[in-house]
Assembly symmetry: none
Homo-oligomer: 225 residues x 2
């Protein structure tokens, strides 16, 4: 249905290509950036599910890129590096990297580490599914069913519902939701949110006029139950 998105930040085109081919053939959607700056802009305007970051970039020091990303981006960041340097590894992990792999890496291992990182990220307690009365969300397959029929959701709709489901019962502010789904650059675009909450309600609620799952907290945000 909808694919997990991975952003590659690496200056070497042949590495990017190798990664992209392997990731795409494993069902991921791939975004690419050749510089740290480009990577930051891309992820700010559309946060991916995971970032592969080469630590040896030409424009910025990879460590700085990592720090800058971590100031708002809270999903997985896996560091790739030609350096098998312990100081580098330690500082990367302590600056919030999810994992650190040394080039040349084995592609099978990388894919497994990506799966592990995404699995951890997408679930609160390693849960792969969540059920809310007639609604069932499968986080690994990225599908949603209502009364045992699979719903047709767009990628953004799924991301939004998934965010709601992972924060059941909690009021999520407009700002927070926009930051998580659209990126830090979209924090003020509350109208997007209204439109997408509208389409989601049409799809998941029995009676969209009287929403049972998505509760609006006027002036603040939304709450999912």
């Amino acid at each position: 249905m909808s694919k997990a998105e991975i952003l590659i930040i690496d200056d070497e085109p042949q590495i990017r290509k190798l990664l992209a081919i392997n990731l795409e053939s494993n069902g991921y959607k791939v975004l690419q950036a050749s510089t740290g700056k480009e990577g930051i802009i891309l992820s700010a305007s559309h946060p991916p599910d995971l970032i592969l970051l080469d630590i040896g970039l030409p424009d910025k020091n990879g460590h700085e890129v990592l720090k800058e990303l971590r100031s708002w981006y809270n999903k997985a960041i896996i560091i790739l590096s030609v350096q098998d340097n312990e100081t580098d590894i330690i500082s990367s992990l302590d600056n919030g990297a999810t994992d650190y792999l040394t080039k040349p890496f084995r592609i099978g291992e990388l894919l497994a580490r990506i799966r592990a990182a995404i699995r951890r990220n997408n679930t609160d307690e390693n849960k792969t599914t969540a059920t809310f009365s007639d609604l069932k969300i499968d986080f690994t397959a990225r599908t949603v069913s209502k009364s045992n029929t699979v719903l047709k959701l767009t990628s953004t709709e799924y991301n939004l519902l998934s965010l709601f489901a992972r924060n059941e019962g909690r009021v999520l502010t407009h700002q927070f939701i926009l930051k998580e789904i659209w990126g830090i650059a979209y924090q003020t675009e509350t109208q997007y949110l209204r439109v997408f909450v509208g389409t989601l309600r049409k799809k998941i609620e029995d009676n969209p006029n009287q929403s049972k799952h998505i509760i609006t907290a006027s002036g603040v945000g939304y709450r999912f139950i």
Copy 2:
């Protein structure tokens, strides 16, 4: 903050000792097991914050131990192995391992990976709530429940109640409340306060005529209990 507890499951005493010394000198509390069986029993009776599991154990295959642990244990498990075997790494990660390190490993890197794993685990919500007889306020979820049903409060009503709750038992002057909720320019608008205290009482009190939670201090302000 108490010490994080780490369980080492490894059959080689000298490795256990090396690890234990390093971990303890870094502020962790260390538990040890020399077999898979022993490790499972130990972690079941007192779940540690992280498990270091040697995949090459004498009694059970390490992969089986991992699977068994993962059926109920959802914190971090880092695999240690003499094998730099890709199949092994992939299956470990896919079976729920948090990380995989090949012996001989660098102790600094191991410590950094342990820190990263524990950090990720602790991001789970430390939710703060306050209870006043039948009334429960969840500050992280931004919700208020009365007898286990969530109340529908407007944003201002919630802010007011939250202010009261954070200053339980203390008389808050009109001025102070107005300044906190509406801003410094509204210090004289005491009528707002009467209206909102009124609506709040209707929602949180069993008998609004005989207010149990919000007590008026005539001429001064209000007090919450």
